[in-house]
């Protein structure tokens, strides 16, 4: 059976280091170079990571397809599989299959302005989108990147995002709820407070993407709605229990939606329309 959708593909862990306290960065690649170069995916898609004897779980891809050959994940230690994943060292082999899910509708973003709003761990999938748009900078309009973390020590990819601050073609705003270091040079306050800095938004020509903890959605979406952006141009990514990634096992079902196939990226219109989605 050549195309077994459930068959994990062996991949080697190339690099791993802690992003923050309980979130670890994993860079993996297929064992064969040829296969590595064939890897194709969209920002917002996810992979099923498989540890033989332990099980499988879905993880958002954090790398961008515009930098081929490698896959990157930011994984929080929260369950049995991640606990085991954290025990693995560089050069060990894990099983990976995918990509799954719909991903962000990149084509629709062409020539449009883009507001990327991140809370906490939401940086994992949205980093993929951010890096993708920066790598293809001329295809998109203005890009606003708003990232709120609780404390400086809880900001994922902090150094990387700080470096991006110097780019003139990106409006990057980083904020923390509270600075407990005394050395934080960026904003302090909630991510919603950053919206006042967004100038001259043309709502019909702007897409907003949001990812963060459930509590954040409501407040952030209120702000986006205030900007007049249509509901179908507001996109968010959601989480559910998954065993297959391909709409079979049923665990991620919500109404007629399989989060793994029809999501994990949904428009705010979907969310309003589909009960139980958030």
């Amino acid at each position: 059976m050549a195309n077994n959708v459930y068959l994990p593909e062996p991949m080697r862990i190339v690099r791993r280091y802690d992003l923050i306290d309980d979130v670890r960065f994993f860079q993996v690649r297929p064992l064969e170079m040829e296969r590595a170069l064939q890897l194709n995916y969209l920002p917002g898609q996810f992979m099923m990571v498989s540890l033989a004897g332990v099980g499988e779980a879905p993880f958002s891809i954090s790398s961008t397809p515009s930098r081929p050959g490698l896959l990157e994940f930011g994984i929080r230690k929260v369950g049995i599989i991640t606990e085991e994943l954290f025990k693995l060292k560089e050069n060990e082999v894990i099983g990976v299959r995918g990509p799954f899910g719909n991903g962000f509708p990149i084509d629709k973003f062409e020539k449009k302005d883009l507001i990327i709003v991140v809370g906490g761990l939401g940086a994992v999938p949205l980093r993929s989108l951010l890096l993708y748009t920066l790598d293809n900078r001329d295809r998109f309009g203005r890009i606003f990147f708003l990232y709120g973390a609780r404390r400086p020590a809880e900001m994922l990819f902090r150094r990387e995002f700080m470096e991006l601050k110097s780019r003139e073609d990106l409006h990057s705003m980083l904020t923390v709820d509270k600075d407990d270091t005394g050395r934080w040079t960026e904003q302090v306050g909630l991510v919603t407070a950053l919206f006042k800095n967004l100038k001259d938004i043309d709502p019909q020509n702007t897409y907003a993407t949001v990812c963060g903890p459930p509590v954040m959605y409501k407040f952030v979406i209120d702000e986006i709605i205030k900007l007049g952006i249509p509901k179908h141009q507001i996109l968010m990514t959601l989480e559910r229990r998954m065993h297959c990634g391909v709409g079979k096992c049923g665990h991620c079902v919500i109404g007629s939606i399989y989060t793994c196939m029809d999501g994990p990226v949904f428009s705010y219109w979907d969310v309003m329309h589909m009960k139980d989605l958030i």
Partner: protein, 338 residues
């Protein structure tokens, strides 16, 4: 489509001859109920059966089976030891159930485990006469045009046999001598009379028209809480439903060495852990939410997804739920208020 005739007294001989192709299964009485059992002994075959406890899906995605064996990090799919099987006696409604599962498992992201078993399972349909729990006429699943290899229509002392696939044709050719090819006008008349008579035998009508709208309107209805209070969360409804496909995965390893298997078992969205994610959040904590999901998924979501409800009117839920929660009672509760 080719149609043939088979004299009734030749049925057992014919089924016996099919063993050259694969294992032969059919309805067998077990206690007061029926199951699809292996027909080592054709005298066990009972063509009068109404519904088996488990539907045909048990052949295509067994309650528990291995998907992969593994060592260290090499996975090997377990697809080789699946035998050829012939399942005789599948009623029209259940063939409709198979068509739904086919869509589900074979269209987007084909499932090789289902696909391989489906390919190796010949479906031999059999006409039936409804009892007071059947409502296939309401779901329009009481006749079949596709999804089978052979379909037997019982007309007193002979069967009209529809050949529905090239495999079906091959199976006929194993004992072509038992079949007659000349369908006469009186056969057609006989068949039409039988249809009319059989259509008149449906006593139970469960009207699913407008269910999506009704369910939408009833989203916050207290009906769900009442059903949730009553539901035993035993999951039996999911096990017996011909269109319930949900499953769980678990990796089993040996204590002293790193070899193991990845096992797949039937699951039910009626169980508390079903939508529980790592970190402890449960998306459907309340039993009422789970009952609502089950019925909404069957009677509303499937229509959005596949254009028709995932209920085939087989009556298994009516026959199975100890506390009388089933398509009939739920639809009634939603439509009639109480």
């Amino acid at each position: 489509m080719k149609v043939l005739k088979l004299k009734k007294h030749n049925l057992n001989d014919y089924l016996d001859s099919l063993r050259v192709w694969g294992e032969v299964y059919g309805p067998v009485k077990q206690g007061e109920k029926y199951i699809y059992g292996q027909l080592d002994d054709l005298s066990k075959l009972d063509t009068k059966m109404l519904r088996t406890i488990l539907p045909v899906k048990k052949f295509l995605m067994p309650p528990k089976f291995n998907t992969f064996t593994f060592d260290e990090n090499k996975y090997k799919a377990e697809l080789e030891n699946i035998p050829n099987r012939i399942v005789f006696g599948v009623h029209p409604c259940e063939i409709h159930g198979l068509l739904i599962l086919d869509k589900f498992f074979l269209e987007r992201f084909p499932d090789p485990f289902y696909g391989e078993r489906r390919r190796k399972t010949a479906i031999l349909g059999l006409s039936c006469v409804p009892d007071d729990k059947c409502f296939a006429k309401s779901t329009n699943t009481h006749y079949v045009e596709s999804g089978f290899d052979l379909a037997f229509n019982d007309l007193d002392n002979y069967y009209l046999v529809w050949v529905g696939s090239s495999l079906g044709d091959d199976l006929v050719r194993i004992r072509l001598d038992l079949f007659e090819e000349d369908i006469k006008e009186k056969d057609l008349k006989h068949y039409m009379e039988w249809r009319n008579w059989r259509d008149s035998q449906y006593k139970l009508n469960v009207n699913l028209t407008a269910m999506p709208d009704i369910m939408e309107l009833n989203y916050s209805s207290p009906v769900w809480d009442e059903l949730g209070d009553k539901c035993l969360s035993c999951g039996a409804c999911s096990m017996v439903c011909p269109t319930c496909p949900c499953y769980n995965m678990s990796d089993q390893i040996r204590p002293s060495q790193f070899t193991g298997k990845r096992e797949r078992t039937w699951d039910s969205c009626m169980f508390k852990q079903f939508a529980l994610v790592a970190g402890g959040h449960n998306f459907r904590e309340a039993r009422s939410q789970r009952v609502r999901l089950w019925y909404t998924h069957k009677l509303k979501a499937f229509i959005t997804e596949f254009g028709k409800a995932a209920c085939i009117g087989c009556g298994r839920c009516i026959d199975t739920c100890p506390v009388d929660i089933n398509v009939k009672t739920v639809v009634k509760a939603l439509k009639g208020g109480k």
